[in-house]
């Protein structure tokens, strides 16, 4: 369970939000909303531990994430504006490196399977640079299929995806939530998720 209390973040010399407090229980999806520039990305990066908040505490299962450090990262998966894939490696190689770094030990078949599920059959061992923007994003999203992490933090995961891919991603998110996972996401599009509990957090005035 992720527990945030009295959070304040500044960027440059502007306070984006303060006294923010919320908790995300298993089986919940938290949809962070707000206008452009309201600090959604900033909040998500703070939740990942990439950015140190001005004040406040972020706790994972009761422990501050600063203290947990690497252990927190084992339980968490972040998906940001950037895909985080190497364009000179193939989809398979990218996934394999990611899995080893995450201390997962999937066998090869799982990796191929994940890419196939993402609709990338036949593209698995091509260097990802030859794929289109949306296809690259699909490779990156394949990590969602392999990950054991209970907490997913997704920053605008739907951009650049075509409708097929959007549907697939929604299905993945719904399944994760249904499996008692936690998802925190931002998106400007509407997310018609049905299962689980959906909470909304609105940033900015």
């Amino acid at each position: 369970m992720l527990d945030v209390s009295d959070l304040e973040c500044r960027r440059g010399d502007r306070t984006l939000f303060s006294q923010l407090a919320f908790a995300v229980e298993p089986g919940t999806l938290l949809h962070v909303r707000g206008r452009n520039g309201s600090g959604k990305t900033t909040l998500l990066r703070a939740l990942c531990g990439l950015l140190m908040p001005e004040t406040g505490e972020i706790r994972w299962n009761g422990e501050p994430i600063r203290r947990l450090a690497e252990d927190y990262h084992r339980d968490m998966l972040y998906f940001g504006h950037l895909n985080g894939i190497k364009h000179d490696l193939s989809g398979i190689e990218n996934l394999r490196v990611a899995a080893i770094l995450d201390d997962d030990r999937p066998d090869e078949a799982d990796l191929w399977d994940a890419l196939e599920q993402m609709g990338l059959k036949g593209f698995e061992d091509l260097p990802t640079k030859v794929l289109s923007q949306g296809q690259k994003k699909r490779v990156a999203l394949a990590r969602l299929l392999l990950s054991q992490a209970p907490l997913w933090i997704l920053d605008e995961p739907f951009t650049a995806l075509d409708t097929d891919a959007v549907d697939l991603l929604q299905m993945l998110i719904a399944r994760h939530v249904a499996d008692d996972g936690m998802v925190i996401l931002t998106t400007h599009q509407e997310v018609p998720l049905t299962s689980g509990q959906i909470r909304r957090l609105h940033l900015g005035g």
Binding site: C48, H73, G80, L82, K86, V97, I100, L101, D102, D103
Partner: protein
Amino acid sequence: MWRVFLCILGRDITLAMRRRTDVLTTLFFFVIVVSLFPLGIGTEKQILRILGPGVVWVAALLASMLALERLFAADYEDGTLEQMLMTPQPLALLVLAKVTAHWLLTGLPLVAIAPLVGMQYHLDDVAVGTMVLALMVGTPILSLLGAIGAALTLGLRGGGILLSLLILPLYIPVLVYGAGAVTVSAVDFADTQPYFSLLGAFLLLALIFSPLAAAAALRISIE
């Protein structure tokens, strides 16, 4: 841990092999810079022999530094670095793996080509041998120190030249002892021993501390 180290090492070497010319680029930069001096200064053998060690070391400094500019840059731009920060692995280990790969790909070739360059400057065999040895010990230090600078300047405009500014001054001890060893070897090879001990000590220190420093710098830069 070993598995993770090898994974990153392998990844970076695979990436470099997919772009083999990038590796050659550093090498040729080194050769070109070395070849420019005789054109600017004159080609008298006596003078070249005095210049040789200094020029080779300065060129090695510059080549290694410029190559380092890209050490984290590619990973930063495509977001893989961000992801590495969020894996349950100690960041310093990942940094060390990346630096090792980088040295194998850019430092080692410089060492290998140094004898050729020595020939251009009419250095004798002992001097060339000393130079190769000194580069062998010295270039990893350059890579390790440079990694800190590369982490600090990550994503900043004017990366290459800014990095030089931060790192070149730190390279001075390596330059002084590296070039010094070669100069001294002209008299007696045995005299070079203290130079090598010092370089070795630097290397050890750099191996221990700079991955930690670079990891800390990365955390700051990525915020």
